[in-house]
């Protein structure tokens, strides 16, 4: 078998046509897989500590609230919508909609951060009381950090959008920032299930 490929042909074939996912995309997905494995290890630790104890949360600590975190989660999930729309807009060359979509995403993200800050303020305990409070605070902080990172990416992408760095055929930066935003949403869902629904599981110890 012999293989003949022409560099000039490859260049021409690419110009003008919407780009397929480049190798950097695979790299980012693999990086996210490693970050997801860190989260997986933390969730594993949460449940290991939970089944290790006889009471969860331990005596003297109120069970976590459900309503306020669920509302925060709803806003977080909703923030994925303008992210999707922003990506579609630039794929069609609509610069203004891209900027608007990114801005709305950021506002929703800030709202979630505000609700989380309120949640931290009303916890009624700190990280250093016992293993439950430690794992609760550290896992929550993991999500806050993911969201802040996603916001930094978002702001950098907005600046680039206003400078006109993106075109219909060339907007890798938008896709990458969106991928990181989706990660902030997905990890938020996982951590809500762990921290707020997890304690509802009967750990089978009755005294």
């Amino acid at each position: 078998m012999s293989v003949h490929v022409d560099a000039a042909l490859l260049r021409r074939a690419r110009a003008g046509e919407p780009r397929r996912r480049p190798p950097v995309w695979l790299g980012l997905v693999l990086g996210l897989a490693a970050v997801a494995a860190v989260l997986g290890s933390l969730v594993f630790s949460y449940f290991m500590l939970m089944f290790h104890g006889s009471e969860w949360p331990p005596a003297g600590i109120a069970p976590p609230p459900l309503a306020a975190p669920a509302a925060g989660l709803a806003v977080l999930v909703a923030s994925a919508v303008p992210t999707v729309l922003a990506g579609r807009a630039i794929a069609a060359g609509r610069q203004l909609q891209l900027r608007a979509g990114l801005a709305v995403t950021a506002l929703l993200g800030l709202a979630v951060l505000g609700m989380q800050a309120r949640g931290y303020a009303r916890l009624g305990f700190t990280h250093d009381v016992n293993a439950y409070t430690s794992v609760f605070v550290v896992l929550s902080a993991f999500h806050t950090i993911s969201l802040v990172t996603a916001l930094v990416f978002n702001v950098a992408t907005q600046v680039r959008a206003w400078l006109g760095h993106f075109r219909a055929e060339h907007h890798e930066g938008v896709r990458i920032a969106a991928l990181w935003w989706y990660w902030a949403v997905v990890s938020g869902v996982v951590l809500f299930a762990t921290l707020f629904l997890g304690p509802l599981i009967d750990i089978g110890v009755h005294e």
């Binding site: 490929v5 490859l10 950097v24 990280h127 293993a131 760095h165």
Partner: protein
């Protein structure tokens, strides 16, 4: 095979040099991101750490040469075995194998660089800083002494309140991050940048090994990152993850550590075995027997190795069902490992052996690794494990596995690829002397330790009393260690002497079949004058086409001073795009330095230093990622 090295128009060659090379000067040296420069630095740095770890081993063996000696004393002995294990695992084995991967894989698969050169450079700087960070503890007097496994509560805030364990946790976490970033770009390189025509069944075995171990790294290193984070928080801000008095669980650390730690063994072993299989064709003059089975068993080992971790915890009091499962899995992994070994033996059996130093290392690997594997099957049984747990039998077992399965392949590989890296051949006579000293020395060191284990000598004791029947075997073991050290001296001297004075190697001194030998030694910055096309697993052994010089390869010229590489499809390696790589930059160095500054702030409990470090990390990442308009080349 259509490299057109000699018939290139000089003007196009000059443009390739201009686009790809790094100009002399210190700042340019710091900003170099080429995969060969970075791979080379990984190899050299990790070799130095190998020698440092070896000195610690010698100190320990000297202390144990006879009963009641006082060379090290108990505290220094604990520090020595902690630093020895930590250095060999985190600062030598994984960085060395990734360094070899970074240097060799792009050459073997016919591309010009790794897909994320700046990330690669970042990995090197962080690795170098991690090593310095860990060893800085020697100057503070608080040296890590919790073992390479660093179990709490011994390593927790209650029993180790000084900063020794913090050096360990933060230093090791940096090396984990280095491993992860290196792994993800090696995966992308092998998946998306193979030369046109290099389908899955034509990927060199070493690239397969690097691919499998890199995917494993992506899932095995994060548990230790998470575990170390929690232990550091326990130590620094008073959380209670591992504190049983407040509902924490020290066994949690053991799980997280070994979910990392057992795959880690195979993360080192798989690329090392693949190194052996890649050198074998050149010294047996034939292709490897059962290549598809070798590849499938590499992948199988990768999967099974995630189901073994609990066999490190057989004595921790776990449910019987878990013990049965992990015993079965520990024995099952012997099957794909056996496939590898039988393939190597069959290849040697059917081939025409060339008895050079490289072949000695191959044979040495098979002998030593099989012995380590057999004792591995023995300790996989819970009943047997309880008898020898924490004795020198286990020390003997894993040194046979790691020296046989990792160190000998690496030494053989450095001998084999030294001509490619430097353009000079090593001396064969010195090479053979070094091999026999190391091979004989390590057997003399570790074989008696099996017997010491049966005689009941525990691990991690700094001395022992006379009259227990241990004196003679300990003396033998120590003499073996000195012989091994002499071998390493000869090996290093061989490299130092022949670095610039060795016989010129030429492009392909071993008449080897894979692409890295198709270019000059050392290779030019752009690797290949044109991207080759591949139609065989052993392209250089295919009959040469009538007139290779007439054909134009891909990217045989540069456009607008850009560093360009070919992107190809994952399965069929069909060229589908041309991608631009970033050039040299200092951002990776700045980012790595900023991370160290942040961790330094954590170490000295300074909010200000930590905050400045963190802000610099964010700023340098933004500077790094900032590009102009994405459509600028239209």
């Amino acid at each position: 095979m259509t490299t057109t090295e000699d018939a290139r128009p000089d003007a196009a060659r000059a443009r390739l040099v201009e686009a790809w090379s790094t100009k002399p000067g210190f700042i340019n040296w710091l900003s170099n991101v080429n995969h060969k420069a970075i791979g080379f630095r990984f190899i050299i740095t990790s070799f130095i750490f190998l020698l440092i770890g070896g000195v610690q081993a010698l100190l320990m063996r000297t202390q144990l040469m006879g009963p009641d000696l006082d060379v090290l004393g108990p505290d220094a002995y604990n520090e020595a075995f902690t630093l020895h294990g930590t250095t060999m695992m985190f600062l030598f084995a994984v960085p060395m194998l990734e360094g070899l991967g970074m240097y060799l894989v792009p050459l073997m698969i016919g591309t010009r660089d790794l897909p994320f050169p700046r990330l690669n450079a970042f990995g090197y700087w962080l690795y170098l800083f991690a090593g310095i960070f860990l060893y800085w503890s020697l100057f503070t007097g608080s040296v890590p002494d919790g073992g390479w496994f660093n179990y709490p509560p011994l390593a927790g805030p209650e029993f180790r309140p000084d900063s020794s364990i913090d050096f360990w946790l933060l230093g090791v976490t940096m090396t984990e991050v280095v491993g992860i970033v290196g792994a993800l770009e090696l995966v992308v390189c092998i998946a998306r940048h193979r030369a046109p025509g290099m389908t899955l069944s034509r990927i060199p075995v070493f690239a397969w090994g690097v691919l499998v171990s890199s995917v494993m790294i992506l899932f095995a290193f994060p548990p230790l990152v998470a575990g170390s984070l929690m232990l550091e928080l326990d130590r620094k801000i008073g959380t209670h993850f591992y504190n049983p008095a407040a509902g924490g669980d020290p066994i949690l650390w053991q799980h997280l550590f070994w979910i990392f730690g057992h795959p880690e063994v195979y993360i080192m072993l798989i690329p090392a075995v693949a190194l052996i299989a890649s050198m074998l064709p050149a010294v047996t003059r034939r292709g490897i027997v059962a290549y598809p089975l070798v590849v499938v068993s590499l992948v199988a080992i990768g999967f099974i190795s995630f189901g073994l971790w609990v066999h490190h915890m057989f004595a921790a009091g776990l449910p019987a069902l878990a013990m049965a499962f992990f015993t079965a899995a520990s024995m099952a992994i012997a099957i794909p490992s056996g496939v590898q070994i039988f393939s190597l033996i069959a290849t040697m059996w059917r081939g025409k052996l060339v008895w050079n130093t490289v072949l000695l290392y191959v044979v040495g690997f098979v002998l030593v690794f099989v012995l380590g594997g057999i004792t591995g099957v023995m300790v996989a049984s819970v009943a047997f494990d309880w008898q020898v747990h924490d004795t020198f039998f286990v020390v003997a077992h894993f040194h046979y596995v790691l020296i046989g399965g990792v160190v000998l392949p690496i030494l053989g590989a450095l001998h084999y690829w030294f001509p490619k890296l430097t353009g000079r051949l090593l001396d064969e006579r010195l090479g053979k002397i070094a091999f026999w000293l190391i091979f004989g020395g390590m057997n003399l060191t570790f074989f008696p330790q099996h017997i010491l284990g049966f005689l009941g000598m525990p691990r991690r004791v700094y001395t022992f009393q006379s009259g227990l029947g241990w004196d003679f075997y300990n003396l033998l073991s120590t003499l073996g260690a000195y012989a091994t050290a002499a071998g390493f001296l000869v090996y290093s001297a061989n490299m130092a002497i022949n670095w610039s004075r060795g016989r010129p190697a030429g492009d392909n001194p071993w008449d080897a079949p894979t692409l890295e030998w198709a270019t000059a030694s050392p290779p030019p910055a752009y690797n290949f004058a044109a991207i080759p096309t591949v139609d065989s697993l052993y392209p250089l052994w295919e009959p040469k086409e009538a007139s290779p010089h007439g054909q134009a390869g891909l990217l045989d010229d540069v456009e607008g001073q850009r560093r360009e590489i070919v992107g190809s499809t994952i399965l069929d390696a069909e060229a589908i795009e041309i991608l631009e790589l970033p050039g040299n930059t200092l951002w990776p160095l700045v980012a790595a330095s900023a991370i160290v500054l942040f961790l330094f702030g954590v170490m000295i409990d300074s909010m200000i230093v930590g905050a400045v470090g963190l802000a610099t990390v964010v700023g340098s990442l933004l500077g790094w990622l900032w590009t102009g308009p994405e459509w600028r080349h239209e």
